[in-house]
């Protein structure tokens, strides 16, 4: 090792201070030669003879010198420098070639860098918390439904009983408060969090403190932590905010802390809020009910030295104990422990991996293209290399020279690609907002730079190696004799293979893009079960009401506001809708069916998705009424309870019986049985691509005006509405806001959202994948057609002489066209065939992101094959025409 270092050091030294360390200098050789010659003279030779003999015995001075030079300096470094400057000179002399090669590589490397920066930010980078690998989400888990929210009593027991988590904290997003100011009111989003929530994540308030456990209790004095953004916009980052009070929904909350501006968390059903309030202080009665799972999820931190598997089995044990203690609530409810990072990216991961593969293919095509260019050029340079070889350059040296040139190209291309990637990701992320979890973490960092450098070098080696090896084996004799015309069939074979390879790669990419496009087209044509066009949903926040306001007064308020909104011109239907828009969030309600045997326990009782609606709901959503009637204005607090079910409900729970007139009993929430009065169509609540158990999940509707008093009072601070508009819904938000304000100047109109955008958001990650795949496939198509164009023109050009002879001998122009075009077509067809076969194998890997389309979709495969063949033909047509017009005289004289 030491010796090796010394050799390196002396070589390094040698490359800078040659004269000091120059064993075997010119002078030394001369001296040696003369001594040898002197000896021969003393043996009787003439001086001239002696000198010749001495030289012979010494060996070629030049060769020895070359060998010593290689040794005495850092041969590589020096040769590299030589090769570099030579390469630069060569490239400068053919700027057209250099520009095309660099641009091609920049596109390929740029696309890879851009995508890698996304993958790096989203999948690879650690989360911005201390020891992020220890963070896990803990959710309830039922084999039938998968992961779900936790009941608050269960959560408290999990916190108490587990032995493997250093902390476990619940959260419940999608809350909101009216902030009552001097003159008006505003609505702000809020999250309920356990006192240990921010400490679990390792987030410390920039001002004030975290919640104390005492504040995380029922009837504790109300406390609130502000988000950095809220603090800034609402209070101008005033440093003395801590200790002040905010009036939220009519109650005074003390500000105890302010979060850092950059606080960020994104996990199952967590949405950043303006305000954070303690979860344990939430008043709702169901918070104390072990059977109710409404939107509470948990994040925990695994203790040091505990593995994920240990934590999982520990939580299993805890859940099993609870199931034994509270069988009616917790039987079959497990606890799922998932690393936060996995949870955050699990939806996007398959898309990113498919995209990464696709973009890798683009780079491969780019490499093949440049390799082709190099190969074509190296034929022109064959004489140069033959001469160098004849003058004593070793094969390795020539390969090195060629590789240096190609790496030079790829590094320049990589630099340019980095710029493209930077602009591309910045533009891309601003066009495709909120599709990507952790989009903020995407950027160019040292990992991305390293990645770009490595793929640039690899690409350079890859596309440089084939031509380099090819060129460095020239048959000296032949090349020199042939006058540089080159043109052995073997060289064409390499180029033919290149063309076939890039055609095949392009096919794979086009098929991938085609399949995602078909998936989206399929999804767009899926009927969601309602007519989403011209539907606007929004919420209205009410100012606080006196403590003993009757439920009927609240019902009257909702009805009056409905009428007020309906008076806005251009609205064709209005309905109250106490939950969120369909397809955004759902609540599930267990019930029993009268006349059917009671289930053994709560968990095996039938359940369905519960929508709360007003009489106008069906007209707003245009859900088809199949039988009976929908909820009407006559269904109020004084009339018998009724409900409307969907077709899947009818099929699942009543089979061939007629459900109308039957009664169901949602025991838990609504204390009286409801009579089924109608059947409506199924709404695809779980998205256009809902499948499996979700696809026919039963649904039912009850009237907002028949809600039990306690539910109504608990949710009196806000109400949701949906309206159908004549024309684009966004144009109506102003008028509706005005109507709400006219109704009550302290009521707040907020969170307007069109049903169209709900649907389009649900397809966002697919659209993201489709757009990128389409871009990559387009890039591949362009590169591949440039590739085939280049090769066919090159080969046609090389064959000018032959073509001239053919024409001179009487071949028709058409025959020439046929020869050249035929060559191109043959290559394209082979490429397409290989590509289709490869696609058949590879597209299976992307079946996760497909929907409603087989990964072997014949239409896609056929279209791609046809398109690519046509494009290839078009690319070959230009050089074929040029070949056709060859003037035999010129062609023959040219040689």
């Amino acid at each position: 090792m030491l010796t090796a270092m010394r050799v390196f050091a002396s070589r390094l030294l040698g490359s800078f201070r040659r004269q000091h360390f120059d064993a075997g200098s010119e002078e030394e050789f001369q001296s040696h030669l003369h001594m040898l010659a002197d000896r021969f003279v003393s043996q009787g030779m003439t001086k001239a003879e002696a000198l010749r003999a001495a030289k012979q015995q010494f060996g070629g001075v030049a060769q020895i010198e070359e060998e010593l030079r290689d040794r005495s300096s850092l041969a590589l470094l020096e040769a590299l420098w030589q090769d570099l400057s030579y390469g630069l000179r060569v490239l400068r002399k053919s700027p057209g070639f250099a520009a095309i090669a660099v641009l091609t590589l920049a596109l390929g490397i740029g696309a890879n860098t851009a995508l890698f920066s996304v993958v790096n930010g989203v999948l690879l980078n650690p989360l911005p918390y201390p020891h992020p690998d220890k963070l896990v989400t803990v959710t309830s888990f039922e084999p039938q439904y998968g992961e779900g929210s936790i009941s608050y009593p269960d959560l408290q027991d999990w916190v108490r009983d587990n032995r493997t988590l250093s902390s476990l904290a619940g959260y419940r997003s999608f809350q909101s408060f009216n902030l009552i100011g001097q003159t008006d009111a505003q609505r702000f989003s809020a999250v309920n969090v356990s006192a240990s929530f921010f400490p679990t994540l390792g987030v410390t308030p920039v001002l004030g403190r975290n919640f104390s456990p005492a504040e995380d209790q029922l009837n504790a004095p109300p406390a609130v932590i502000l988000s950095g953004g809220f603090w800034k916009t609402k209070f101008g980052s005033s440093p003395d905010i801590v200790g002040k009070t905010l009036n939220l929904d009519g109650k005074d909350y003390t500000v105890v802390g302010v979060l850092p501006q950059n606080f960020y968390f994104c996990c199952i059903n967590f949405q950043l809020g303006d305000l954070y309030v303690p979860l344990g202080a939430a008043q709702q009665p169901w918070m104390r009910d072990r059977k109710v799972h409404t939107g509470i999820y948990a994040v925990g931190r695994i203790k040091d030295g505990v593995t994920l598997a240990q934590a999982r089995s520990d939580m299993d044990r805890v859940a099993r104990n609870l199931a034994a203690t509270y069988p009616e609530a917790d039987k079959g409810v497990g606890a799922a422990v998932t690393p936060v990072k996995e949870e955050m990216v699990k939806d996007i991961q398959p898309f990113l991996l498919v995209l990464l593969a696709a973009v890798g293919f683009v780079l491969l095509i780019a490499c093949v293209n440049v390799a082709n260019l190099l190969l074509a050029r190296s034929t022109g340079r064959a004489r140069e290399f033959a001469i160098r070889a004849a003058l004593g350059a070793s094969q390795g040296r020539v390969v090195r020279q060629l590789l240096t040139e190609s790496v030079l190209l790829s590094l320049v291309g990589g630099g340019l690609g980095l710029l493209l990637a930077f602009w591309g990701t910045t533009a891309g992320l601003s066009i495709l907002p909120s599709t990507l979890p952790r989009a903020n973490d995407v950027g160019i960092d040292s990992h991305v730079l390293l990645f770009t450098l490595i793929i640039s070098l690899l690409a350079g080696a890859l596309f440089g190696l084939a031509p380099a090896l090819k060129t460095s084996h020239p048959d000296l004799h032949e090349t020199l004799k042939e006058g540089g015309r080159g043109g052995s069939g073997v060289r064409y074979r390499t180029q033919n293979i290149f063309v076939i390879v890039e055609m095949a790669l392009a096919v794979v990419l086009l098929v991938g893009a085609g399949l995602t496009i078909r998936t989206l087209m399929h999804l767009w044509s899926v009927n969601p079960g309602l007519d989403p066009h011209n539907v606007l949903g929004f919420e209205v926040g009410f100012p606080p009401v006196p403590p003993n306001t009757s439920a009927n007064a609240l019902r009257a308020r909702v009805r009056q506001l409905t009428d007020k909104i309906a008076s806005v011109p251009g609205l064709t239907a209005v309905s109250v809708d106490n939950w969120r828009l369909p397809m955004t969030g759902a609540d599930d309600l267990p019930f029993t069916i009268e006349g059917q045997p009671k289930p053994a326990d709560e968990n095996s009782s039938p359940d369905a998705i519960w929508y709360i609606a007003g009489p106008g709901y069906l007209n707003v959503m245009k859900i088809p009424l199949l039988r009976g009637r929908f909820l009407g204005p006559q269904d109020d607090a004084n009339s018998p309870g009724v409900c409307v079910i969907d077709e899947d409900f009818a099929r699942k729970y009543f089979g061939n019986q007629d459900p109308i007139g039957k009664r169901i009993d949602p025991t838990l929430t609504i204390k009286e049985p409801l009579e089924i009065v109608g059947i409506v169509g199924h709404v695809k609540q779980f998205g256009l691509d809902e499948s499996g158990i979700n696809a026919s999940y039963p649904q039912f509707y009850t009237s907002n005006f028949q809600l039990p008093d306690d539910i109504l009072t608990a949710s009196e601070s806000s109400a949701g509405y949906v309206v159908r508009t004549q024309g684009p819904p966004d144009a109506f938000t102003g008028a509706i806001r005005g109507a709400v304000h006219a109704f009550n100047s302290k009521a707040v109109f907020y969170e307007p959202e069109t049903m169209d955008s709900v649907i389009s958001d649900s397809l966002a990650s697919r659209r993201f994948a489709m757009i990128l795949l389409a871009i990559f496939a387009g890039l591949a198509l362009v590169l591949a057609s440039i590739g085939i164009y280049g090769v066919i023109s090159y080969i046609a050009g090389q064959r000018t002489h032959e073509i001239g002879i053919r024409i001179a001998l009487g071949a028709q122009r058409r025959d020439i066209l046929k020869i050249v075009l035929g060559h191109g077509t043959r290559l394209a067809l082979i490429g397409v065939a290989v590509g289709l076969a490869a696609s058949a194998g590879l597209t299976r890997l992307m079946s996760k992101i497909l929907f409603g389309v087989s990964s072997l979709d014949p239409l896609t495969f056929i279209c791609v094959a046809v398109v690519l063949t046509l494009v290839a033909l078009a690319a070959c047509y230009v050089p074929a025409r040029r070949a056709m017009k060859v003037d035999p005289m010129v062609a023959l004289r040219y040689e």
């Binding site: 050799v7 064993a23 075997g24 040696h32 001594m35 002197d38």
Partner: protein, 114 residues
């Protein structure tokens, strides 16, 4: 004639040069070439230039040093001498060589059935 380019020969040549310098003291390239020629009874003919490649290898490893001087017949020449590290290396290599040649010798003396 031995193939001058083989790696084995390079190592052997280095060993011979080192030994020559140990026995004869400071010597120029010409002298080393003569000594090897003389010792090998002309069996080993080498391009004398390759001696310099060997000298460079040895110098880079720190096993020999060099300084300019004047030869017996008044020509300027570089004189090489063995360093302490070179002597240690030579001892090691010589041992290895003897072991190795002993093994080869034994193998070559093997007889069928023996």
């Amino acid at each position: 004639m031995t193939d001058v380019k083989s790696e084995v020969f390079q190592g052997t040549l280095d060993l011979m040069v080192l030994k020559t310098l140990e026995v004869l003291g400071p010597l120029h390239g010409y002298g080393i070439a003569r000594r090897i020629e003389q010792l090998s009874d002309q069996l080993l003919r080498l391009n004398e230039g390759t001696v310099y490649a060997s000298l460079l290898r040895l110098a880079q490893k720190g096993w020999i040093r060099s300084e300019w001087g004047t030869s017996e017949n008044n020509r300027r020449a570089r004189f090489y001498s063995i360093s302490n590290a070179g002597r240690r290396q030579l001892a090691r290599e010589a041992q290895n060589w003897e072991r190795f040649s002993g093994v080869i010798g034994k193998i070559l003396q093997m007889q069928a059935g023996g």
